[in-house]
């Protein structure tokens, strides 16, 4: 192993198994990966090394509904450093009841390839 090779351990967040994956990395390139139990783990480590992504699942305000909020999530992960800008956009949203799960309330949030969709049915009051 040359001096510039580093060993790094990742805890995979793709599923609840949370595999501990060990990667040998040299100059930003992955030399080897061990410890993953599925291909998603390997993809996760590549993603973490190059451009880590995450999802968030907050709520938006509902007017005229039996509940004050409807929960939402992102259809695709977004770059980690975009979490707070995306959150700010979601906080600005107001929707009117009734709302149905699966409805897209914001397309291409912050210009990213991800949509904000409703995850909870809220009937009108």
């Amino acid at each position: 192993m040359s001096e510039s090779t580093i060993k790094k351990t990742y805890t995979c967040i793709i599923c609840p198994n949370g595999c501990d994956i060990e990667a040998e990395i040299k100059d930003g390139e992955i030399l080897s990966i061990t410890g993953h139990t599925c291909p998603k783990g390997e993809a996760y480590v590549h993603q973490e090394l190059t451009a880590p992504t995450r999802t968030i699942a907050p709520s938006v305000l509902v007017t005229g509904g039996e509940l004050p909020l409807a929960s939402v999530r992102l259809t695709k992960p977004i770059p980690k450093d975009m979490i707070f800008p995306v959150m700010d956009e979601i906080k600005k949203l107001t929707i009117t009841a009734p709302v149905c799960e699966g409805t897209v309330v914001l397309e291409k949030v912050c210009g990213l390839d991800s949509e904000v969709i409703i995850t909870k049915n809220v009937k009108a009051k």
Binding site: T11, C12, I13, I14, C15, P16, G18, D20, R54, T55, I56, A57, P58, S59, L61, L67, P68, L69, S71, R73, K80, I83, F84, M87, E101, T119, K120, N121
Partner: protein, 410 residues
């Protein structure tokens, strides 16, 4: 008095899955009694995603996971009643329920206990100190935020590294509160590794193991907490006290199966799980009374709750058809390194799924089920942690007619 084949107490993930599976097995004379305004149970407030990976092969939020089942319930017109609180369950399977239509009395052939669990409170922990406002369990804070649009906190300290606690650390941070740290009394985290990464590390929230709250300050609203390190016996080490100024303490210190109704009916509980003693049919000591999901033992994943409730439904359907189930006389004991097992009793005549949790962290270990010294089943694990429920199927072939079984970490 109304007669029913099966009364299902609770409309959360376990109750919904049990009802659907019973229906699909031809048992249609059933009713789900749900105390809240909506079906779905605790999933309604668990708006984060990560549910359903094993069941649906994709990552859903809690409400979506619940809705997938509710849609199926609605499609089949399976009867349910919301705002229906069961006041009493008797040992002959009569159920008093308070409903919008007034007090109702049911006589059931079988009862399915799927009431879920509740959180351990400050009092149950016996944390010393004053009693200000601002001390919330994680689930209560979650309900305020996700169901009621109310913010309970500004400056936050979290005690306990349970999954809900970590998820609330992220949730509070996203909504503008400042989470200073998470403290865990044990030497290992009690929640899943992925949540340490995506709920704490991503937001620069430190997790301190071997630490606990040893004093609570504030005569009105919380003004701060004292944190101490603990020794290997979990006793606070004098001289390690550190003060944290905060207005909110969130507790994520464990879940307890909610068995008030069960014990009143005479259901025997296992002191380790705080849920019922059940056999491989998920039947309690009262014939025809079944339990599954978090009221039986606290699960880590809702997908497993659904599966367990479906297995229960399978047995309950047989019970309705035959009026009884094969006896289970072989006990399973939790041995070295194992906290508890489900079931606690088996017949020895059929394959069954064994669920358990280990007591501490193990690497490259074998989980072994033995009877009379013989290995009955083995599961090899690269990593076994208390945060994760371990399940594997045990074949009946090797099981002998006599002799207690014991499962241990080797």
């Amino acid at each position: 008095m109304e007669k029913k084949d099966v009364v299902i107490i609770g409309g959360g993930p376990a109750g919904l899955a049990a009802a659907l599976e019973l229906y699909n097995k031809g048992i249609h004379d059933i009713i789900i009694l749900e105390r809240e305004n909506h079906l779905g149970g605790i999933l309604r407030q668990c708006i984060h995603d990560g549910f359903g990976l094993s069941r649906f092969g994709k990552s859903l939020s809690g409400p979506e996971y619940a809705q997938a089942f509710i849609n199926e319930i609605e499609k089949r017109h399976i009867p349910y009643m919301t705002n229906a609180t069961v006041l009493e369950l008797t040992n002959d399977k009569q159920i008093y329920a308070m409903t919008r239509e007034g007090l109702k009395l049911y006589q059931a052939k079988a009862v399915v206990l799927v009431m879920g669990c509740r959180e351990r409170s400050r009092g149950a922990l016996g944390i010393p100190g004053e009693r200000p406002s601002g001390v919330f369990t994680a689930g209560t804070a979650q309900a305020y935020m996700n169901l009621y649009n109310r913010m309970p906190a500004k400056e936050v300290v979290i005690l306990g590294s349970g999954d809900i606690g970590m998820i609330m650390a992220r949730r509070l941070t996203l909504e503008g509160a400042h989470v200073q740290a998470v403290f865990e009394i044990m030497p290992h985290p009690s929640g899943l590794p992925r949540n340490i990464i995506q709920c704490l590390e991503d937001y620069n929230i430190p997790l301190y193991l071997n630490h606990t709250v040893t004093d609570i300050h504030g005569g009105s609203r919380l003004t701060g907490v004292t944190i101490s390190q603990v020794d290997e016996k979990l006793a606070p080490i004098p001289g390690t006290e550190k003060e944290y100024t905060c207005d909110t303490l969130i507790l994520s210190v464990g879940l307890i199966p909610d068995n008030l109704l069960s014990t009143d009916a005479g259901v025997t509980l296992d002191p380790h799980t705080k849920g019922a003693y059940v056999d491989e049919h998920f039947q309690t000591n009262i014939p025809g009374v079944f339990a599954a999901g978090n009221v039986l033992h606290v699960h880590d994943l809702v997908d497993f709750v659904s599966l367990e409730a479906e297995a229960l439904a399978h047995s309950a359907a047989s019970y309705i058809h035959d009026g009884m189930l094969p006896p289970c006389n072989l006990a399973i004991k939790a041995g070295n390194g194992v906290g508890h097992t489900i079931p606690q009793k088996i017949s020895g005549d059929m394959d069954f799924k064994l669920s358990l949790r280990v007591r501490s962290h193990y690497r490259d270990c074998r989980i072994v089920l033995r009877q009379n010294g013989e290995e009955i089943a083995v599961k090899k694990m690269k990593k076994a942690i208390p945060a994760e429920m371990i399940q594997f199927t045990v074949k009946s072939e090797k099981i002998q007619k006599h002799g207690e079984l014991e499962v241990s970490v080797e």
